[in-house]
């Protein structure tokens, strides 16, 4: 049974999977959120919902969204980020982006997203 589960995970990783995994860690009043997988129109709703729930359930002074494990992102990601930014801004919580891929970095630059969600690291 365990072997079957491992094979399924490998399959999902190889083909990008149909979901985005969200991991969290709180350190020094900073909520670190790691997104791994592919963020597109298909996975966006899942990410929106889970991030919003996570933010509501957490108490923090700032949020860092770690994209080092994000293997793909298109402009859907911009919409998702802006939406989360607005909700956190209403609570006076600044948001930062860390370790975007070169491709995600390009998209963030052309959209001007770094003006509201600065890149750190």
């Amino acid at each position: 049974m365990a072997r079957f589960n491992n094979e399924r995970i490998v399959f999902l990783k190889a083909f990008g999977g149909l979901t985005v995994r969200i991991e969290k860690k709180i350190l020094n009043s900073t909520l670190y959120v790691g997104l791994s997988g592919e963020l597109d129109t298909n996975t966006a709703e899942h990410v929106r919902k889970n991030l919003d729930e996570l933010f509501l359930a957490s108490s923090m002074e700032r949020v860092v969204i770690d994209l080092s494990e994000m293997s793909f992102m298109d402009s859907t990601g911009i919409g998702v980020m802006i939406g989360r930014f607005k909700r956190l801004k209403a609570r006076n919580i600044p948001v930062f982006i860390s370790h975007p891929s070169p491709q995600a970095d390009k998209i963030f630059k052309i959209s001007g997203l770094y003006d509201i969600m600065p890149k750190i690291g």
Binding site: A44, F72, D74
Partner: protein
């Protein structure tokens, strides 16, 4: 000999697929895999996958909205050029220039960034959008260095 040489350097693929969000990853991976033969860099593959993803998203979200339909993808490599055509038979675009304006979207309520066409134009060498009667065709070209 020249004619045969020319033919053998062109490669072609065609895919007709349901306009479903869960097919987006498959479509961009398919086009990416197809262009490997012309030796793109990892960055160029990322560019192509992203542009394809944008065009496919548009077809599903805007073209068909909540209705079922198919997306028609064709790709051709000729020398170091990749030509992609992504077509839907949905509602079409009334004002293409307006649609291609950065940040313009008809679905602001759904957190759409309106950056789809801008991303395509940034990542590909050439993007043409046509909409006549039924649906939209997006043609893109990437020149591999």
């Amino acid at each position: 000999m020249e004619a045969i040489k020319k033919k053998s350097s062109d490669n072609f693929m065609k895919l007709e697929i349901s306009a479903r969000l869960e097919n987006e990853a498959f479509i961009r991976s398919t086009v990416a895999a197809f262009c490997v033969a012309i030796d793109p860099t990892l960055e160029e593959i990322s560019d192509i996958k992203t542009a394809v993803s944008e065009a496919v998203s548009n077809a599903i979200i805007h073209g068909y909205r909540d209705y079922p339909g198919n997306i028609f993808i064709e790709a051709r490599t000729s020398g170091k050029e990749l030509h992609i055509s992504i077509r839907d038979e949905g509602v079409g675009i009334e004002d293409i220039d307006k649609a291609r304006t950065p940040f313009y979207t008809t679905l602001a309520d759904e957190e759409r960034s309106g950056m789809g066409f801008t991303v395509m134009e940034t990542f590909m060498n050439q993007v043409t959008v046509t909409s006549s009667g039924k649906g939209v065709t997006v043609n893109m070209v990437k020149v591999i260095k």
